[in-house]
Every structure is written in structure tokens, then in C-alpha cells.
Symmetry: C2
Subunit: 376 residues, 2 copies
């Protein structure tokens, strides 16, 4: 990557709901507030405010999608796709990414201070849904003075938020790109998440969620992340990356790390513990499991929706298999919504949405150009 | 099931290596002994001792493959396949099943008393391999006076033992039926096992393996089993069995069990903790991961092997995908070994080897009949 196609040094900004609604009415019936959203923007909003693209992040993502934070050497999580001349071309578009509520990257979540007690919420934090996340974002978009988004886009949980935007605010979304995602979590997807939650909650260091000030339930959270990582890769990509290679020359005949794949998973688990809050993991996975826009909930009966869809699946993704993306397209077509389906050949599994940059760039660039041109 | 096709009431028997070798030289270089094997037999050994079938069990299985233990209402784990008139017809064949070393169902394992200390071995127990398991079994088969087995058969880890029998004692196996298994564990299979082991070892109740007398590391072992159960089912069978059905009418908006699939996994996890030793889980999964008969190790160079193979795969089994069974057949064919490959249509996933009784019975019965007849 050259400096020319980077958005350069960026800073995370914060937006706190000040004016009504100071509190957000949640899907559960509970209220949450005040709410702060961490977000970043790249590029410039045009005078018609017609070039705004909202990027939605996945489970463990954050607002830092592109560019570099001062003093850090790694760019944002989708930097390969966002910048001047890239798929989300910041010389043309105004790109926004905000951290979800329930998270731990600057937006209000279970590790935030509960104004009523002066202590972190922990399990006092109410359960939130994908719909609540998007509802909160809509206030940020209001605050930025944007009525209609040129595009909402995201992979995995980001794809669910994308779908939810259309379900909640169909008139505010000109186009949508759900990637490697689903209309609803299948029992297998729920099962993997539940195992992760049980691993966290089984750790005595979790302290029924009240571990703040004591340190994270590290071992449980690491196990949860290890399970996750297996589902993000494919059988084939693991074979290509690790095969049965050993860390030492021979089997140890102990329970130490023998295989490279074991070392990799442990490394990923340990790294995750340092950067992610265990309770946020519980809240966000629960939001994923509750998500369900099947049976006509994506496009409401009798509602004419002119949002244009580009739906992207990856062949080796077994966590969000292509049949789930095809289900989205089927529901859209039934409701006469314009949708293009693309299945990208890839061996990367679910991670492909972060890695198949060239193919995605090709698909996204042309799709956006067409949509943007039609609006001029 | 009627009484007519049951082997009836059975008892587990025990065989302790008394005469040399009192100790078993293990693949690691360590020694283990004395060794006891728990086993059961059904049917009658004929005078030529030519009708013996050795059934190999999977990870959490035991010697109790068929019939009923006094006072118990559930039959052995493969009762649907073993009995008069069944696939493994006990009116014709003499069927043997023995618990693996490293296990916790009567054969010597980490929960057995170490004669040197008078206490359970715990982590003093040496790591064992599939080859060691089979080596131990060969002494039992010697003791039963059987020179050549009519058939060795098993699913999953049972399939690995089946392959190992041919690799270790090709002249003692007339036919082999490896089912839903592999020549070697792939990195994905290793990864799932490693997550399970980490879940156990993360539980402080594990006490570095020294929990005997204190109670099992229940929560860690339950999490490990939950991960396992996901891999035993298919996406489709989970959909058919659970879909997104809730335990209550609505979402709880808590971290309690919302979905039936969550309740099922927890039930399975909790039940496992009551019947299986956590250290045995560690030892046996490690044996699975070390298993590797690829690259010509199944049939040694220059060795003419006349064992006849029936290799069975299941279409929806993603834990041991059909390509792994095809790899076995490929290696056999390369070495001019007679092998028939069958891929059974099933939605059950890996569990199919225990559930697709009708199809398996059909395949096995005809295969065995032919082999047995040719030997007469």
C-alpha cells in the first residue's frame, strides 16, 4: 500500500445523544441512555449530502475502518477497501463507520459507566439487538445531516446491520451490500455462539459479569475466540496454512502445543483477550442470535422498496453458507426489490470478506458507480 | 426392538496382561503396565476360530456395544447393528468389543490407580496413540485364541483403530470396515480437539489433572462436549431438529437459555460430565490428533495385503468429510488392496454412523457374508 491511496492519519470521533432522545427505547422494552457512539469518517460529504456510505463492522470490529491512528503501524480493519481510488473511493464518497452499542471500542456498552451507579454496567446493561444498534446509528446519521445514505455495507454482523437498515429505514438507503451474512442465525450458528458464551461464563474470573477492576475472564474468552476462529476459516484454508506441521521436530507426547494450528489458535485467543471485553462478547453474540428478518420481516408487506442490492457470498464460507445469501436474494426478488447475487470463489472461508479484496473491489466499484450516477 | 434380535443380558469382562508382556512399550518410548482391558463378547467363537469380528468404539464409547447390562434399560451403543439377524449377526459371528486404553470405562487410563503410587495416574499417565490402543487389543485377541479376525470395524476413532489394525497386523485382518473416519486428522479436526482440551484445562477445577477426589472440571468438560456435539451434527440436521424454536414463548433478553438448540447442547454437556473422565478426554483426543497413516503408512511398501475393505462415508458428515474416506480408498487402490467405497446419503452429519442403521446393515451384511463364505 502506498501513501497515495490511504486516507492517512485519522481520529475516532464521539457523538453523544444530547437532545431528545437522550435515551434509546430498546427492542426489549428497556431504555438505554445517554448513549455515545464512536465513529470515524473519511472523505468529504458533498453539498447535496448524497455521497455518504455507511460501513458496518463485524462482531469484534470497531469504528476504525481505514487509515492510521497516530503512532500506530496497522491501518483500520477494512483499509484495503476504503481510500482514494479504492472500492469505497474517498475521493468521491463520504465514508462513515461507527462502533456498535454493546461494544467496547468507544460506543456505550457493558464496560461503560452506568450513570445511575457510577460503576461499569456489567450485566446491568440491557440486552441489545441488531435493530437497536441500527436505531442508535440512525441518530448519528441524523446528526451528520444526512437524510439518505448512498449505500450501507458490511460483512458478517455488518451484513445483518445492512439488512436491518433496509428493514427499519427503507427510504433512507439507496443501496445495500450485505456480504457473507444471513437473514437469521441458524441453529448451528446459535450453537457456536452459545458455546463461546458458556466458555466465558464458565470462567470463575467472569464473576457473573462483575470482573471490572479484577481483570478479564481471560481463559474463557480465549477459548470462545478459538472456537470462533475455526469457523472463520475453511477446512481447505487451514490445510493450506498449517497442514499438520509441528512446532517442534517431533510430537511432544505432552499436552503442550504440538501443531502449528494449535499455536495459531492460542495466539489468536490470547490476543483477543487483550483487545476485547468479555461482556461485550456475550452481548453482541446474543444480538446475532436474536437476529431474524426472515418471513417477510426484511421488506414489509405492501411497502415498495427501491433500495438496490448487491449480495455477496463466498464459496468456502461454511459459517454463513451461500444458501443463506441466496435466501436473502429470494426474499428480495419476491418483494420485487432489485438484487444482484454474486458468489465469489475463494478458499478463505468466512474470512474471505476481509481478504478477497480484488474481487470485492471489482464488484463494489461498478455497483456504486452506477447507483451514484443515477442519483446525479 | 424385540427380545428375539437382542443379545440379551450381558456383562463386561476384564483381561489383565499377566504373562509377559506385563507392560506395553508405547509409541512414545514410555512403558505402561500392568494393563487391564474391559471387553464384551456376543455370539460364539466357532471351532476354526474364523468368525471373530472386532468392533472398535469412538471417542466416548466403551466395551458395551450390544445387549443390556443387568438393571439398565438402555442397550449398548451399537445394539442396532449387533445381535441375532442384525448386521453383525451373533447367530453366525463372534463379536468382540473392548474399551481403549486411556479411556475410563474399565480399561487402564488416567483415572486408574498407578501401582507405583497407589493413586490415580492423572497426568502421570503416559500419552497413548491409536497404535498403542490397537497393540493392547492384540493381546486380548491373542488371549481369546484368535489368530485372524474375520473383520475389524468402527466409526470415527473406531475407524482409525480399524485402519491401524491393518497397518500394524495386516496378516491378522481378513476384512476391514472403516466408517466416517480419516487416514489422518486435518488441522480443522485438530483445532476442534484443541479447543475442547483448552476448555478443560482452563477450568481451575481441573487442577493440572489432579482433580481425583475433588470432582471433575465439570464446566470445562461440558464446554468441550458442546463443541464436539456441534461437529457431530450437520447444519441441516440441526435445522430439522431445532430450527430457531424457543424454550419459552419469547426471547428472555437475558443470558439464560433461549433456544432449544442451546438447551440441547447444555443437556448433552452436563450428561457427558457425569459419565466421562476429563483426563481421558484429553488423552484420547490427543491420540486422535497424533493419528497419521498417510503417505504409505497404511500399507507398507512391498507388503502384499489381502485384507478386503468396505469404506463408508456419509454425505453430510463435515467432521470427517467424504474426501477423507476417498483418500483411504485411493491409498488402498494404489497398493492394490481390494476396497469398495460407499457414500451414504444422510442428513445426520457425523452421527450418521450411529443412526443410518438400515443402509449400514445392508452394506455390512452382504460384505461380511461374502468374506465369510470365501473363508469356508
Amino acid at each position: 500500500m502506498t501513501v497515495e491511496n490511504s486516507v492517512g492519519t485519522v481520529k475516532t470521533k464521539y457523538f453523544t445523544f444530547a437532545e431528545p432522545p437522550r435515551e434509546l427505547k430498546l427492542e426489549s422494552g428497556q431504555s438505554l441512555g445517554p448513549i455515545t457512539l464512536a465513529y470515524e469518517t473519511y472523505g468529504t460529504l458533498n453539498s447535496q449530502k448524497s455521497n455518504a456510505i455507511l460501513i458496518e463492522h463485524a462482531l469484534s470490529g470497531d469504528a476504525h475502518a481505514a487509515g492510521f491512528h497516530e503512532g500506530e503501524k496497522d491501518p483500520g480493519w477494512w483499509d484495503s477497501m476504503i481510500g482514494p481510488g479504492k472500492a469505497f473511493d474517498t475521493s468521491k464518497y463520504f465514508v462513515i463507520c461507527s462502533n456498535v452499542i454493546g461494544g467496547c471500542k468507544g460506543s456505550t456498552g457493558p464496560s461503560s459507566v452506568n450513570p445511575k451507579t457510577g460503576k461499569p454496567y456489567a450485566l446491568e446493561f440491557p440486552l441489545i439487538t441488531i435493530s437497536d444498534m441500527v436505531h442508535a446509528q440512525s441518530h448519528l446519521i441524523d446528526n451528520l445531516g444526512i437524510d439518505k445514505l448512498l449505500c450501507v455495507v458490511g460483512g458478517s454482523m455488518g451484513g445483518m446491520q445492512t439488512l436491518q437498515w433496509v428493514a427499519s429505514y427503507p427510504d433512507r438507503v439507496r443501496s445495500a451490500i450485505p456480504i457473507a451474512t444471513a437473514l437469521k442465525h441458524s441453529p448451528q450458528q446459535i450453537a457456536f455462539n452459545e458455546v463461546g458464551r458458556q466458555a466465558v461464563m464458565a470462567d470463575p474470573e467472569w464473576r457473573e459479569g462483575g470482573y471490572y477492576g479484577h481483570g478479564q475472564p481471560e481463559r474463557g474468552l480465549a477459548v470462545a475466540r478459538m472456537v470462533g476462529h475455526i469457523t472463520y476459516m475453511s477446512d481447505q484454508s487451514m490445510e493450506e496454512k498449517f497442514s499438520r506441521r509441528l512446532k517442534e521436530k517431533n510430537y511432544s507426547f505432552t499436552f503442550k502445543t504440538d501443531f502449528e494450528v494449535e499455536g495459531y489458535l492460542k495466539y489468536k485467543g490470547d490476543a483477543f483477550v487483550k483487545r476485547f471485553d468479555a461482556n461485550s462478547y456475550l452481548y453482541i453474540t446474543k444480538a446475532l442470535d436474536y437476529f431474524d428478518l426472515s418471513d417477510g420481516k426484511l421488506i414489509r408487506q405492501g411497502k415498495a422498496v427501491d433500495t438496490r442490492f448487491l449480495v455477496i457470498a463466498f464459496k468456502s464460507d461454511w459459517l454463513y453458507p451461500s444458501y443463506q445469501l441466496q435466501d436473502i436474494v429470494r426474499q428480495l426478488k419476491t418483494k420485487h426489490v432489485d438484487a444482484t447475487y454474486c458468489e465469489v470463489k475463494s478458499t478463505y472461508g468466512h474470512d474471505a470478506f476481509l481478504l478477497e479484496v480484488e474481487e470485492e473491489t471489482h464488484l463494489v466499484r461498478h455497483f456504486l458507480k452506477k447507483i451514484y450516477k443515477e442519483g446525479e
